[in-house]
Symmetry: C2
Subunit: 324 residues, 2 copies
Amino acid sequence: MCQPIRVSAESTTPPVCVLGLGLIGGSLLRAAVAAGRTAWGYNRSAGPVEEARADGYDADSDLTAVLRRAAEADAVLVVAVPVPALDAVLGQIAVHAPGCTLTDVVSVKGAVRDAVAGHGLGSRFVGGHPMAGTSQSGWSAGDGELFRDAVWVVTAEDGTDPASWTRVADLALDCGAVVVPADPDEHDSAVARISHLPHLLAEALAVTAASGGDLALALAAGSFRDGTRVAGTAPDLVRAMCEANAEALTVALDEALELLTAARAALAADADTEALVVAGHAARRRYESLPRTEITGVLVGEPGWERLLRDAGRRGEVLRARTY
Amino acid sequence: MCQPIRVSAESTTPPVCVLGLGLIGGSLLRAAVAAGRTAWGYNRSAGPVEEARADGYDADSDLTAVLRRAAEADAVLVVAVPVPALDAVLGQIAVHAPGCTLTDVVSVKGAVRDAVAGHGLGSRFVGGHPMAGTSQSGWSAGDGELFRDAVWVVTAEDGTDPASWTRVADLALDCGAVVVPADPDEHDSAVARISHLPHLLAEALAVTAASGGDLALALAAGSFRDGTRVAGTAPDLVRAMCEANAEALTVALDEALELLTAARAALAADADTEALVVAGHAARRRYESLPRTEITGVLVGEPGWERLLRDAGRRGEVLRARTY
């Protein structure tokens, strides 16, 4: 008996408090307001606060006041600050709004889970990662439609508070995303393979081509252009992303190196590329034909619901809409 | 005193005889006719001949007749057959049309040069490689606009016949391409880096991502999609291209492996990716800002003209238009 995912509680549309008004936080504040939520934001530096206010949004640079308001309104707190600021913000949340549902939008999930637990905030925390972005940054680059049809990972660990999970998933859905539930460490392994490894391979391809001189670059066409597109991203952004996930990325890079080393041996000995080319084509086809089935039949809060959601996410299944 | 490249002889618009009516040959026949050339084609199997005739083109499956006609008309012969058929076609050319200017559109240039020399056809041969294509094949996939603004490599070796060089370059320009002169072996090294290596890296990325399971594939977004696009190409086409250039591709792959192995060490030891990311970004920027300056001041046939053209191509310079 397959049924849509649902909760027994009523629909959850609590207010939203966004901490950090850069590209992702600023886009989230816009999207939450567009979805009819009461939402306000905080940013440490005054510039983005003024920009957000000028655009008609509720924003402040007083973290204590913003967090007290969140605690009074029982808002969902979204941590969208740069990783170096994470610890300080979590410390303030522990003082002023420890009872709020708490989520984040950081691109690694294991390290954030550990930091949150270190501040005693684990009981109402649900990790999040919207797989969206641009090469731009800052409030002005934000867009309330940034998350439309994007994948938004929402972590589901044993012991996660069901009400908080529903609140966070609903926020992602309200922003126009589809939700993929995942274990934090499995998330980190997955993004190492599909987001961070592509950057390292693109950088290596660009360097190898350029070492062929301007003749090589003059001959470069579609395969080079696509294969190196993300090497055009600012090095600081690429480094921050890859280095925060160094452990999982090392594993993925080792697998790629093993494949390429074996291919090198067959190429040099027998002018043969069959094994790698056939496997790569099959893998790309599998990606293209992934069904992205809708998750059904899981009642958030029932015994084992966290595992059921993780299993569904592991099959590439997604939650597309609030169904209650 | 910089002057446009020019020849002292009159404009060269000889007829064109295209041997092989697949994607590239079929597109070339269409483009030559569209440029006002008298042009006809040969194909061994009857299907493409009938398709070309149905589309209003002059085509035949009698190789001897086609070559005799080319010899009588002093046509430019373009070899556009698959690599396995190259030797047989060259053998027939040596018998029936040894005096014609001869070029080809094969993606490796050193091996074709050697095969042509083996048949005693080197004196009027000029290698060619239009950097254009699609994932489709066959006459029906052809397009007279396929070469518009594409790069078309025309080889310039010491001793190349100047009149033949001009005829081949003019044909490329008439098809809408820009011409980059190059040494055959330098061409093969360059395309290993910018065309064949991208395929191997895309295949390895696809396999590594898929080994993360459907969760990883479900999270894949732009960087993975672009980085693996060419892994969607039919394995036979990728293999034919890469394996024909195995020697140069091995060198390029070794350079990429060296870069990635060093990056792996820094990542595992210090969570550091700076060296690779900074170098990759600089290389991509160099590609984006390549000026593609027009070649000027070379008179084809003057002493050292072959070297002057190779030097220009090595600087990424291009020939854009017939200038006489």
